[in-house]
């Protein structure tokens, strides 16, 4: 029982507990906040997986920008109503739950049973070094994945323009 195992148990437990809380909460504001804690747990797990850069990016972009945007939309449009008590289509919901859990069991079985695939390891330039993986990721982004990088920049611009146009009031 080393310290890493304890940290993993805490972080994974936090993430899963608050993910369940997010699904169970009735008001959207509390769901968003539960999801923020879940993302923090995932960020801690990423640090354990030798990806501190990704952990920081998750907190900055996901927890710090995307979910803040959710919160703003909820607060500005006053969408914080509680879910209705009357359930509609209970049989369908029950079947959906069973199917999702069955899929989950299947996925769990597959991921835990599969071994490392028999392909060659990464090229020398793409190995995760033991000390600092940020230069490696940076170099990959600008060499092998340059097209995807530039394309994602165009995508973000298109998304920003699209969001502006879609949420504009119609000029009658």
């Amino acid at each position: 029982m080393n310290a890493d195992l304890v940290l993993f148990a805490l972080a994974a437990g936090l993430a899963i507990a608050f993910a369940l809380a997010m699904v169970v909460q009735k008001t959207p504001v509390r769901s968003v906040l539960s999801l923020v804690v879940t993302f923090f747990g995932i960020a801690v797990l990423s640090v354990m997986l030798a990806a501190p850069f990704i952990a920081a990016i998750i907190m900055i972009v996901y927890a710090g920008a995307i979910l803040v945007l959710f919160l703003f939309v909820i607060m500005l449009l006053n969408l914080n109503e509680e879910a209705r008590e009357k359930e509609s289509r209970p049989v369908q919901r029950a079947l959906g739950l069973v199917a999702a859990l069955a899929l989950g069991g299947l996925l769990l079985g597959i991921t835990l049973r599969a071994g490392t695939p028999p392909v060659a390891g990464p090229a020398a330039g793409a190995r995760i070094p033991s000390v600092d993986e940020i230069p490696v990721v940076g170099r990959l982004l600008f060499s092998d994945y340059l097209f995807a990088f530039e394309a994602s920049a165009v995508l973000l611009l298109a998304a920003a323009v699209g969001a502006l146009i879609l949420s504009r009031r119609r000029m009658e």
Binding site: F8, A12, A15, I16, A19, L20, M22, V23, P28, S31, L35, T38, I42, L45, M48, L49, A50, A51, F53, I54, I58, V61, Y62, I66, L69, V73, I74, A83, R84, S88, R93, L97, A99, A100, L103, G104, L108, T111, L112, T116, G121, P122, R127, I128, E133, V137, L140, L141, D144, Y145, A148, S152, L155, A159, G162, A163, I165, L166, S167, R169
Partner: protein, 110 residues
């Protein structure tokens, strides 16, 4: 699961990370299927994407491959773009129908 040679062994078994990631994915899936509020469905989808990020990072760590970090980086960027446009769609929907529950958006129903 044996790691590739030349990669430092993980102190926590990778199966644990994979199980955690899959469990988060399933919770997100359940949320996406069972919630009625469009925002809650969207939040569950974001959870699913982040669970997949965790799985990518685990496999990358097992192989010692930094390409997994690059893939996760792009997934996050695309999720940001999707969130922006999705929320704009919800705002427009709310203005048109005064509700955001997916059950009530049924004008095209027979």
């Amino acid at each position: 699961m044996s790691p590739l040679s030349g990669v430092a062994p993980m102190s926590v078994p990778p199966a644990a990370f994979l199980a955690a990631g899959t469990l988060l994915f399933v919770i997100g899936l359940v949320g996406a299927l069972l919630k009625r509020n469009a925002l809650s469905i969207f939040l569950s989808i974001e959870l699913m994407m982040n669970a997949v990020n965790l799985l990518f990072l685990t496999y990358g760590r097992m192989r010692g491959d930094a390409a997994s970090h690059v893939i996760v980086f792009f997934v996050i960027a695309i999720a940001a773009a999707e969130a922006a446009v999705g929320l704009a769609v919800f705002v427009a929907l709310f203005r048109a129908r005064q509700t955001i529950e997916v059950d009530r958006v049924n004008l095209l129903k027979w």
